[in-house]
């Protein structure tokens, strides 16, 4: 009976497969085969689970858009994927005559893809538009310390800040600070038809389906090898992996441990990994009882067995007590063990001594990615030491809303840290300025605030390193954020793809990528 069922299913499929063969053989219908995903030798298809909201660095603030933006546009500075150092890209060099002045010399003879010359005026236009309240750029806070922008000569631009801005170079290397063609922005919508100086240029965007780019033959660093790059929307990661197995897709990033074993078991797919800047932590609501009690927080930190949790990630996460991860500027050697070790006995002791076992705490868990796993592990470990946990799971949109308000006891937080800079991690997530928005732990500690402020306001990078390390140690000691794991950037890459480098921040460039 099973055979008959399979036969009934198989007959039309065989017919279709046979018809398909004829179709591919017909050169007139070549377009159809490329639409179905079978691509040429130097074409690359990247699968993304959702479509980009826009393609303008000024008007977007999300990772899907950034991946496309990073191939079309360029920033003044760029993080070196291997060393993590920030190096000039569109900039040639820079100097800081005083703490509030950044003089940036630009590379010469570069053109945008529409032929507009890249110069100091273009930089001034981009940043002024980015900071214009009428434009309402969602990531305007990135360059907020910039007060005025002066054009000194055609290839020299001066950024004057209202206060010293230590993370300026990290901010200028952020994809949202990419330089746009003023001509294209004034005469069209760069969110729909982007124009930058990068190695690939925009061809078409079928909303919800795919974005197609082609190589920029006049690219200033030399022509890229890939002829065409397609960003195809495939909502299910499992389907995307199947499409990679059939050769319809060549690159998928953001792979989690759920899918890693399937990828590792396939010879035609490589799992490429790189230690990353993202950090995922268990955190408390500092304003609520009993989380405001340092003893209770210590008990919570002692109760979580993070080694056991990290083992469940199949190598796609690393364990460290430090909030500022090893790949982030400001990390201090040896700080991976500065926190509270797993000691359920000690946790139980503190809880019993202080009668914390009478409390039931409400744990907020977003129902995406690894947060569900974290929630289940932590809930079980807390109940072992006598803490009763009520878990409330919710979708991402609701979580962003609820966790920004004082409406939970404990939760899980994550920060991808695209700048790779420690003060750009500690300031948004734990500085009291950001209570009610990105400081979801509602942490307010004057000493910590002062250290972070100082790290943001000094331009001496050695001093910044020291200040970030001190602030980090203070927050770990206060057990506000207990890092569950530091992210490992993981991508499934088809065997035909060469030279793909994943940056610790999760970004990647396709300029040097080739296909065999």
């Amino acid at each position: 009976m099973r055979k008959l069922f399979l036969l009934i299913l198989a007959i039309p499929m065989i017919l279709l497969a046979a018809c398909g063969g004829e179709n591919e053989a017909n050169p007139e219908q070549g377009n159809e085969s490329s639409e179905s995903g079978e691509s040429g030798e130097q074409d690359l298809v990247y699968a993304t689970t959702s479509d980009a909201p826009g393609l303008s660095p000024i008007d977007t603030n999300d990772s899907v858009s950034s991946h496309v933006i990073e191939q079309i546009y360029e920033t003044l500075f760029q993080r070196n994927t291997e060393t993590g150092e920030i190096e000039p890209r569109l900039a040639e060099s820079y100097e800081t005559p005083d703490d509030n002045t950044w003089v940036i010399h630009l590379k010469e003879d570069i053109e945008f893809q529409d032929g507009t010359p890249f110069n100091a005026e273009a930089v001034k236009y981009t940043f002024e538009t980015f900071l214009d309240p009428d434009r309402g750029a969602p990531r305007a806070s990135l360059l907020a310390p910039i007060d005025t922008i002066d054009v000194e000569d055609e290839y020299t631009v001066v950024l004057n800040t209202s206060e010293p801005y230590g993370a300026m170079l990290a901010a200028l290397s952020h994809s949202n600070a990419s330089i746009v063609s003023p001509e294209a922005d004034q005469n069209g919508d760069i969110n729909e038809e982007p124009v930058g100086t990068g190695p690939y240029q925009f061809v078409e965007w079928e909303k919800g389906d795919e974005i197609v780019l082609e190589k920029n033959a006049d690219y200033w660093r030399g022509e890229p090898t890939l002829e065409q790059v397609t960003f195809r929307v495939v909502p299910s990661v499992s389907t995307a992996i199947s499409m990679m197995e059939t050769g319809e897709v060549h690159f998928i990033d953001g792979i989690t441990s759920e899918h890693s074993s399937r990828i590792e078991g396939n010879e035609s797919i490589n799992l490429q990994t790189n230690d990353g800047t993202p950090v995922y932590a268990f955190g408390v609501n500092y304003e609520r009882e009993p989380m405001s009690n340092p003893e209770f927080r210590k008990a919570l930190a002692h109760a979580i067995d993070r080694d056991a949790y990290v083992d469940t990630l199949d190598g796609l996460g690393t364990r460290s007590d430090s909030i500022v991860g090893e790949q982030v500027f400001g990390y201090e050697e040896g700080s991976e063990n500065i926190g509270y070790e797993y000691d359920p006995e000690k946790a139980r002791e503190i809880i019993e001594e202080n009668n914390f076992d009478e409390e039931t705490i409400e744990m907020l868990v977003p129902n995406r990615d690894m947060y569900i796993n974290m929630g289940e592990v932590v809930q079980a470990q807390f109940s072992e030491v006598g803490i009763d946990v009520e878990m409330e799971m919710m979708d991402w949109g609701t979580y962003l809303d609820v966790s920004a308000e004082d409406e939970f006891d404990v939760s899980f937080f994550g920060w991808s840290n695209v700048t790779g800079d420690g003060s750009e991690l500690l300031y948004p997530v734990l500085h009291s300025d950001n209570i009610g928005s990105s400081n979801r732990a509602r942490y307010a500690n004057d000493e910590f605030d002062e250290l972070v402020d100082a790290s943001r306001q000094t331009t001496d990078q050695d001093e910044r390193q020291e200040l970030i390390a001190q602030a980090n140690e203070l927050a770990v000691e206060d057990a506000i954020w207990v890092p569950m794991h530091h992210g490992v950037i993981a991508a499934a890459v088809h065997e035909s793809v060469d030279n793909l480098e994943l940056d610790a921040t999760g970004s990647w460039e396709l300029y040097q990528v080739t296909r065999e």
């Binding site: 069922f5 398909g20 990531r139 919800g208 389907t239 609701t398 962003l400 009610g436 928005s437």
Partner: protein, 313 residues
């Protein structure tokens, strides 16, 4: 007949206004703020308030609804909060894909369902009857997302006969058939099972009726008895099921479009709900609601053609 159509269209108008109000209000009062989703976890308070002002979300809800209704009467469904794309345009580009999928699925469902139902009724209690009724039970019980994944693994990954995902051509072209085969089977299986069950019971009832016995006694050929005398009457309840199922299929496209990477209205709706993209949610819900009403109207009209005893005047 004309009266029926006119009165249904008037009813539909008020129904859609009601639906638009309920969807608008429930989206606005549900937890989750579109501005916070656009800003993401990195947004500061000033970033969020500037996004909110840009989207016009800082105005009173009733004022926002009034503006939305005014747009609606002019045929303008508004602009996406996420991408600023016109909702009309977003739906216009995705609807053909959903319609392709739904039509291909209903064809699969009707062909398999009616065929299996007739065979199983004619050969009652035979192995074929047991096979179809068991198959129907399995078809109803198997979840779409599971069946879809399994079909991809067998026919795309292992046998390499069909693409694993995507849709770039209409269902009547070879390319479209290749791309739609797996999604249409996935989505159509559940409906095929329901149709098979309904056809079987309806056929069994008709086969035993007096006029069929008379036809046979007159020496009419068995094929004519089955396909002309029996089917015409047996099909009335089946058409009701098909009509209702077409509506449910539109709901089922949400999952199947996710699994097979088809850029349709179902996926648009689910993404819009997750992003709290209010105009996009309202636009797609209104579209699905209108289709539901239209399909029911069409089913009522088909009744009158199949069974001359039914009259709406």
């Amino acid at each position: 007949m004309i009266n029926l159509i006119v009165s249904r269209i008037v009813q539909m108008f008020f129904l859609l206004i009601g639906i638009s109000f309920i969807v608008f209000m429930s989206m606005h009062f549900a937890p989750g703020d579109p501005a916070k989703i656009i800003g993401g976890p990195t947004a500061t308070e000033s970033d969020i308030s500037s996004i909110r002002a840009n989207l016009g979300l800082d105005r009173p809800v009733l004022v926002q609804y009034k503006d939305y209704l005014v747009g609606l009467f002019q045929g303008d469904l508004g602009y996406s909060y996420q991408s600023n794309q016109s909702v009309n345009e977003a739906i216009a580009t995705r609807f053909p894909n959903t319609l392709n999928l739904a039509v291909a699925s209903i064809i699969v469902a009707i062909v398999i369902g009616v065929f299996a139902g007739i065979i199983s009724a004619l050969k009652q209690n035979s192995w074929m009857d047991v096979f179809t009724t068991t198959g129907a039970l399995a078809g109803i019980s198997i979840p779409n997302f599971w069946l879809g994944t399994i079909l991809i693994l067998i026919f795309a990954v292992n046998l390499n006969w069909l693409p694993a995902g995507g849709l770039s051509a209409p269902f009547w072209t070879v390319q479209g058939m290749k791309e739609l085969a797996l999604p249409a089977i996935t989505l159509g299986t559940g409906s095929a099972a329901l149709i098979a069950r309904m056809t079987r019971s309806s056929m069994l009832e008709v086969i035993r009726s007096d006029y069929v016995r008379t036809a046979r006694a007159k020496g009419v050929k068995e094929k004519v008895v089955v396909f002309v005398h029996c089917m015409r009457n047996a099909m009335i309840p089946v058409i009701t099921v098909i009509g209702m199922n077409f509506g449910f299929l539109l709901g089922g496209t949400i999952i199947v479009e996710q699994v097979f990477a088809i850029n349709g209205v179902g996926r648009l709706m689910i993404d819009a709900i997750a992003d709290r993209d209010f105009p996009m949610v309202q636009g797609s819900v209104l579209l699905v609601a209108s289709l539901f009403v239209i399909v029911n109207l069409v089913v009522d009209i088909i009744y009158a053609f199949i069974d001359p005893r039914i009259s709406y005047d």
